[in-house]
């Protein structure tokens, strides 16, 4: 009797547990179909209607493989905490403004819509898609953290050359020498480690240590804690490399909230090329790029997140130094460029756009190559063959269908250098040309926009990256912060105080 009762209870227990789990999964599925299926697909295969328009593509959950997990490298599954974090938001300390999901992807954080419980239901559904329900609890151990002093960074640097440079490039700019694909067949580019704000799972030392220790499942980036690997590193070594990787971050390149490009005035000649010490005087401004998704041949898989610009001018000319990281130089005779290009290879290119002629206040032309109001574009194009060399041209445009190329001879010069995954291009043009040309005024503000082509990513013609109108200002010479007026104000107030004091004394 007792035995039978016990079995009955046990049966009931198992059954109810199962039912309980089942309803959780159903609840999760309902949320998933409403919010996630557009990208991740109704069956979780990463094939929703949006999938074809995304770079990186949305995760296919049927393999149960997750890139940004924190469990040991030999655990296939992520922990429940991992899933909760991936779904509700990564909360990295350095992120793209307004984005709490995975940086530089279209996967947002969902904590504004989903409470903790709902997130756990969706997670239960995701687990059921891959056929496992017991997630491991253990995250990797972060207690051995090594302080990021110069000795640690130095040790990390040596290790980086040997372990990481083959993919991330010697300068860490992601200038891979390999064509990489992940397990789902999507092209992957090793991250540009100088742009910490683009890391999907955070750029703090702990985050990078986690990536090195666990690897990035489903990609070629291996675990460096795996004793079976020739590249295995000790715990302390992995912290050293993480510290070094953090030191590569160039935070001054991260675009600020409302960037204004400040052109500095120089006496005498402006630099012809990027390697000129005069550029050190100019302040750097970063601008976020978006792909051209407005007309005809649209670009859905951008490969560059932002561009950094400096500007100088003298009495006759204005010069721009434009820098961005690009895994290849896109030169067709360069074996590496050919090997890792995605499809056809086109030359890299960059352009600066201004309103043509004098601008009335509040009267900017259409940002996408003008319209009824014209724009002038200064373009630099990388070489298509060794003989031809780099090219500069001026374009007058009144909309995408009304474009006129003008001979740039003598008016415009452009000159770029590609080095270790970074283009540095100088474009130099007249401060005041014909009435078609832009007018730059000392002390004034001019609208300016940028466009960029990554030829190894298939960018050519209308397929490119761009910014909207930004502002640049031509600072008056010697204008910097002036100390005269503040000091004068201080002195006047002080004298006032003294007068008051003396008159009060006299009264006594």
């Amino acid at each position: 009797m007792g035995m039978r009762l016990l079995t009955l209870f046990a049966l009931l227990f198992c059954f109810s547990n199962d039912v309980f789990a089942q309803t959780e999964i159903d609840k999760g599925k309902a949320i998933y179909s409403r919010l996630c299926a557009f990208c991740h697909g109704i069956e979780g295969a990463g094939d929703g209607p949006a999938a074809a328009y995304l770079n990186p593509p949305p995760r296919d959950f049927t393999l149960g493989l997750y890139k940004w997990k924190s469990t040991k490298f030999d655990e296939y599954a992520p922990s429940d905490d991992d899933l909760a974090r991936m779904i509700s938001g990564m909360r990295s300390h350095d992120s793209i403004p307004g984005w709490d999901g995975m940086n530089a992807t279209s996967m947002p954080g969902w904590s504004d819509l989903l409470g903790k419980e709902e997130v756990s239901h969706v997670a239960a559904y995701l687990k059921s898609l891959a056929g496992y329900d017991n997630a491991p609890k253990s995250a990797i151990d972060l207690s051995g953290k090594v302080k990021a002093d110069s000795a640690s960074v130095e040790r990390g640097k040596t290790l980086f050359k040997d372990r990481c440079a083959e993919c991330h490039g010697v300068s860490g700019r992601g200038d891979a020498t390999k064509k990489l694909k992940d397990d789902w067949g999507a092209r992957t580019w090793p991250r540009d480690l100088t742009e910490g704000w683009t890391f999907r799972a955070g750029s703090a030392p702990e985050d990078i240590y986690a990536r090195i220790t666990i690897g990035i499942p489903g990609t070629q980036m291996p675990s460096f804690a795996d004793p079976a690997s020739k590249k295995m590193m000790t715990d302390a070594q992995r912290w050293d490399v993480a510290n070094y990787a953090v030191s590569l971050n160039e935070s001054e390149k991260k675009p600020s909230a409302n960037p204004v490009l400040k052109a500095m005035k120089l006496d005498g000649k402006l630099p012809d090329g990027p390697a000129d010490a005069k550029w050190d005087k100019a302040a750097i401004s970063g601008f976020y790029l978006f792909p051209q998704i407005f007309v005809s041949s649209k670009s859905y898989t951008p490969s560059v997140v932002s561009v950094s610009v400096k500007a100088l001018y003298n009495d006759g000319e204005a010069a721009f130094l434009i820098e961005w990281d690009d895994p290849t130089n896109s030169m067709p005779w360069d074996q590496k460029a050919l090997e890792i290009a995605d499809g056809d290879l086109f030359p890299d290119s960059v352009a600066v756009q201004f309103p043509s002629g004098q601008l009335k206040p509040g009267d900017r032309p259409y940002f996408g190559m003008g319209g009824p109001k014209p724009v002038t574009i200064w373009q630099w194009k990388g070489p298509e063959s060794i003989e031809e060399g780099q090219r500069a041209r001026i374009i007058d445009a009144k909309g995408v269908k009304n474009i006129n190329q003008r001979l740039a001879d003598g008016l415009l010069t452009a000159n770029g250098i590609y080095d270790n995954g970074r283009w540095r291009v100088v474009i130099k043009g007249p401060l005041k040309g014909s009435d078609k040309d832009p007018v730059f005024e000392e002390g004034g503000f001019t609208p300016v926009a940028f466009a960029l082509w990554d030829g190894s990513n298939g960018d050519t013609g209308g397929r490119h990256l761009m910014t909207g109108w930004q502002w640049m200002t031509f600072e008056k010479q010697g204008e910097g912060p002036s100390y005269l007026w503040p000091v004068a104000a201080g002195v006047i107030v002080f004298c006032g105080e003294m007068l008051w004091l003396f008159s009060a004394r006299k009264k006594d």
């Binding site: 949006a50 328009y53 984005w99 978006f290 940002f367 319209g371 104000a489 107030v493 006594d508």
Partner: protein
């Protein structure tokens, strides 16, 4: 402590002016705040010094600071700090040379008619042809919404966001932020024909006060069919639980 009361009153008004920026993310322009504060300080000062006695009490602490020998130390400190603060204020205000700002109407008045697909649409009389299915044929309606969702997730979510909250993947890079469709103060206040016009003609189709040269909203008339636009509008309302503004 009349002086304290004076300072607190001014501070109260200052915070009131700052509140929209701090809590609603819609800051009052600083030049406007400066102007209001100027008048507020003067008015409060006038009110508090309307009687001689009041004026006397208000300024007493300042006077005693200068005249009372026992307060020498505080006086010296104040006399040094005040000029420095003034100098800094001048330095700070001189630094900011802001680029010109353009005021823009978010929902400018639509034109009476729009031309597209070789037809002329009278915005005052057209409605969503798929809307009636909502009551008459819920199953068909669901299918229309689903088709609309695919239009949205192939063309619009980059900017308007996966959650229709205006925070898409590329939103941070655009000068004018894409508008959200969530919340009761967005598309619920608009007629479907208004959205039809906006989607057809995009940023370039805006009147001058709408900022046609800086809006990144594409014109969709050459990319989407008439039906696709009406269906994506159905989806925008359905997903956000909003209902379009009706005729009356």
């Amino acid at each position: 402590m009349r002086l304290l009361k004076f300072v607190l009153t001014c501070l109260f008004f200052y915070l009131l002016l700052k509140a929209p920026g701090l809590f609603l993310g819609k800051p009052v322009p600083s030049s406007l705040i400066a102007m209001y504060m100027f008048f507020i300080v003067i008015t409060v000062l006038l009110v508090m010094t309307i009687t001689d006695d009041g004026a006397e009490k208000l300024f007493a602490p300042i006077r005693s600071l200068v005249e009372d020998p026992s307060k020498k130390l505080i006086r010296n400190v104040v006399f040094v700090v005040v000029p420095i603060v003034c100098g800094y204020a001048v330095y700070d205000s001189g630094e900011k040379k802001a680029p010109p700002t353009e005021l823009r109407a978010v929902h400018p008045a639509p034109p009476a008619i729009v031309k597209a697909y070789g037809k002329t649409f009278d915005l005052a009389s057209i409605g969503n042809p798929f809307r009636k299915a909502e009551k008459e044929d819920p199953a068909a309606f669901k299918a229309f919404v689903k088709e609309g969702s695919e239009v949205y997730f192939k063309n619009c979510f980059f900017c308007h966001g996966d959650k229709l909250d205006g925070k898409g993947h590329y939103a941070h890079a655009l000068e004018l932020r894409p508008l959200p469709f969530t919340g009761t103060d967005t598309i619920a206040q608009l007629q479907e024909s208004y959205l039809f016009w906006r989607i057809l003609k995009g940023g370039p189709g805006l009147p001058r006060e709408g900022g046609p040269s800086i809006s990144a909203m594409p014109a969709w008339e050459n990319e989407l069919t008439e039906d696709e636009i009406w269906k994506v509008i159905l989806f925008l309302y359905d997903y956000t639980g909003n209902t379009p503004r009706s005729w009356s």
